[in-house]
């Protein structure tokens, strides 16, 4: 059995829909139990990450706005 991985997806500086695109690409290589931490500066990302979670049925562990970026922590639970 392989162990869960944690990966940072740095999408800072990318405009919409760059951050969710990079998340989707990272998601392809992820497996259940993995945690993806996405960094973004696009102001639309805060609502877009919620839409992505709703659609893909993964788990949003944390979503916070830091001084210089928005950080979303996603736990992968919906991989088939």
């Amino acid at each position: 059995m392989s162990t869960a991985a944690k990966k940072v997806v740095d999408a800072r500086g990318l405009s919409c829909p760059g951050p969710i695109t990079n998340l989707t690409k990272a998601y392809r290589d992820a497996k259940n139990g993995d945690v993806l931490e996405i960094w973004a500066t696009d102001p639309g990302f805060k609502s877009d990450i919620k839409a992505w979670i709703e659609r893909t049925k993964n788990e949003l562990v944390d979503l916070r706005e830091e001084k210089d970026k928005i950080v979303a922590i996603v736990k992968i639970t919906a991989k088939k």
Partner: protein, 134 residues
């Protein structure tokens, strides 16, 4: 949850091609099944022959500001966005009638076009999903 987004792309001006790129890429990133049916003036933007950007006359004086803003926000070109959408599974089809009307054959189109299809194929694939006419 698999859902479908179909875009009928008719306009050939770059101000309308940009949102097509954004919506297609965004929908593909959400895991939607995306297809773009290219017809009308938009076909001229998908040929191997390089074409210059076309802007609507009434907004032409705002184009430099728009381009500057796109650059400052690191926004990719609409072609790059359509490519991204395709890398996530989106399909792009050219309308067979308008292609014939414009004298365009399959080999005249660039690599963005997956196939030349008729309207029935498009409608069949669009059934049950959302469809946008742009």
């Amino acid at each position: 949850m698999l859902s479908r987004l179909s875009i009928i792309l008719y306009s050939g001006t770059d101000d309308k091609l940009i949102p097509v790129g954004v919506i297609a890429q965004g929908a593909a990133a959400l895991g939607m099944d995306v297809q773009i049916f290219v017809t009308g003036w938009a076909l001229t933007k998908f040929t191997k022959k390089q074409s210059n950007p076309v802007w609507p006359k009434e907004f032409e004086n705002m184009v430099p500001m728009l381009m500057e803003g796109m650059k400052k926000n690191n926004a990719p070109s609409w072609v790059e966005m359509v490519k991204e959408a395709k890398s996530m599974g989106a399909k792009v089809y050219a309308c067979s009638l308008m292609a014939s009307v414009m004298g365009l054959k399959k080999e005249d189109f660039n690599e963005l076009i997956d196939d030349v299809v008729g309207v029935a194929t498009f409608l069949q694939q669009a059934e049950g999903g959302q469809t946008l006419f742009i």
